[in-house]
Amino acid sequence: MSLLLWLAALPCLYWTQGIETAPSLKAAGIERLCVPPERAEAWRGAGFSPVPIGEGDLAVRDLLLAPGIKARADRASATRSPWVDANGWRFLRNPAGQYVYDLPAGRAALAAAEAYAYGADAVLKIDPADVESLGRMMQFLSQLPANELPDAADLAVVDDGSAPLGEVLNLLVRRNLLVKVVKAPTAEFGINVKLGTKEYPLKEAGEPSALALKVRRQLGDEQRALRIFGSEAVIGRLTRDGSHSRLHLLNYGGRDLDGLRVHLRGTFPEGVAYVAGAGRVGLEEHTAIEGGTEFTVPRLGAYGVVDLPPVR
């Protein structure tokens, strides 16, 4: 992938403020902007790489949730886990979609990481106070080694296009159950979640968290390709081909984690982590255990990736 294409794969900051803000953007290391078409030339002249995008273009994009956790006293959950607003399921459901975030202060960096982790075409409308933190995240993302791999999955979800299925998909991803979204049941997986069937009646979609838990127990934790210990607010996306693997770790909890234990089914050599805010870090306490591989990511802010080399 060329550098230009690689940069284009990063989420784009939508910026409507005037050219006088250029120094603060440059100081934050942000060079690529999505701007109103009439301002594109001015930004180009200021040394930026502007992508013209009009209000109409924005309006047709799917609006995403601001990622993070929040207290939901009004909604009962099937577990003690915190309520996480995450968009990964949307990206998995429609990888070719076009998206826009409209973010309150403090969420820009995580949103950028989330979009990047799923390779989504996303535009970020942010609180200007987040320019610095977003700039740091974009710098980090732009320096990550390219490693585009297909998703690993433990089960299939048959997408009927409905809202209830979307919420089920959301909760499955939230539980770190790795899914492949398909149009029809596939023999590739032992579990095909299709709403409206005897096994997954439509009424069960009314309690999506409970349904996700049911699927998890059908699969069995020991059969899961990915387990995460030490947080209830981290969502992983595991990608791999026949040799390499990359694990994206998105921390929605809003606070840095000191040590996150990861269990992957199968045998993997020691890998390396790239953690936003810390750079390249070694993995700790790599262990082969019960048909799987475990290691600790020593520190995790909003986002990190773990790259695992081919099995020798």
């Binding site: 099937a78 577990t79 003690r80 886990s81 539980r175 770190n176 838990l213 998890r216 127990r217 934790d221 995460i228 210990f229 030490g230 947080s231 209830e232 909890g253 606070r255 840095d256 984690l257 000191d258 040590g259 996150l260 234990r261 306490e285 262990t287 475990e294 600790t296 020593p298």
Partner: protein
Amino acid sequence: MDRRSFVRLLAAAPLAPALPEALPKLRVVTSYKPAAVPGMPGPHPGRVVAVKSEKSVDTASNAAHDDVVREMMARGLCALTGAQTAPEAWRRFFVPADVVGIKVNCGGHPYVVSSYEIVAETVRQLMALGIPPAQIFLYERFQNQLDEVNYAPHLPEGVTIVAAETANRRADNRGYDPATYVEADLFGEEDTRSNMMRLVTQKLTKIVNIPNVKDHGATGATGCLKNIAYGSFSNVARTHYRGKSHTYSFVGTLASVEPLRSRTVLQIMDGLRGVWHGGPFARTRKYVFYPKQIMFATDPVAIDRLLLDIIDDERKAHGAISIYDRSPQYLKVDDGAARDADPNVNIIIREPGHVEYAAKLGLGVADKTAIKVQTIEA
């Protein structure tokens, strides 16, 4: 008699501890082997020495009297071990090469925590044996709780005061051993592991457990077992949810995991003060009471069996429902404010049977008729 009084009378009557419907599957993962004589129940199963002194605490100020506490500890340890002197008694448990952890309890700050006087005397006796302060670690799970209680001014320089996590916020995991844990899916939580503190697995050779006499909303009472178990493992709050608790089997199971079980060699139940409702917290003096006693044992189950009665008797004296009460009429799920205001409100169905369950795991003696209690008035 009105209906309310009648119902309370019924509630106060002895109730057979009911078993939870189904026990969760708990999987213990550890590479540590038990000692020839594991610290729990240790060399004195079913034996408790209770030393009482009216002079031990000034109930007006809540302050303990250092000299009295020292005497209580010396007499208690001598009685438990049969030693003639306090140093000789301590030598039954520790050698100069030991790295000793002192598991305190800070959750009942400000009124009911492991007393400065008991902790300081423990350190003094350990050092008198030749254990240098650098080999003594006062520990809790949460640093903010240790900071609130602030033991440092009461201890010699060089003693380490340490916690696994900065606060109860599930962000600090490196203080725990990734290879030593209990795995269980209790309520569908994603993180199904509770890991033992690295301090326990990798550094300490012996542990002194200093819990308090406290009521507990989930376990009925929190004493030796819960202090050492929930105070040495991560991710344990997950055992209670929406009025239900899995503490019945979880507390004892955690306490039985090696090396915690083998290394916890001495139980000193700080009963100078207590809290009979609203525990494990004691944010007000409303439910604080003064048993004015310290219990000594190697058997955590035996002490905790006595503790259940101490808490329940105090509750009865105040007309409160029994810790064994499981009736839904007193249950206000997750309503901490109602619980704090009214001792006849439970927020979780309590599991005092966790003590008996721990006995089944071999941690000690829960049958009261088999527990030998020696009471000393100091």
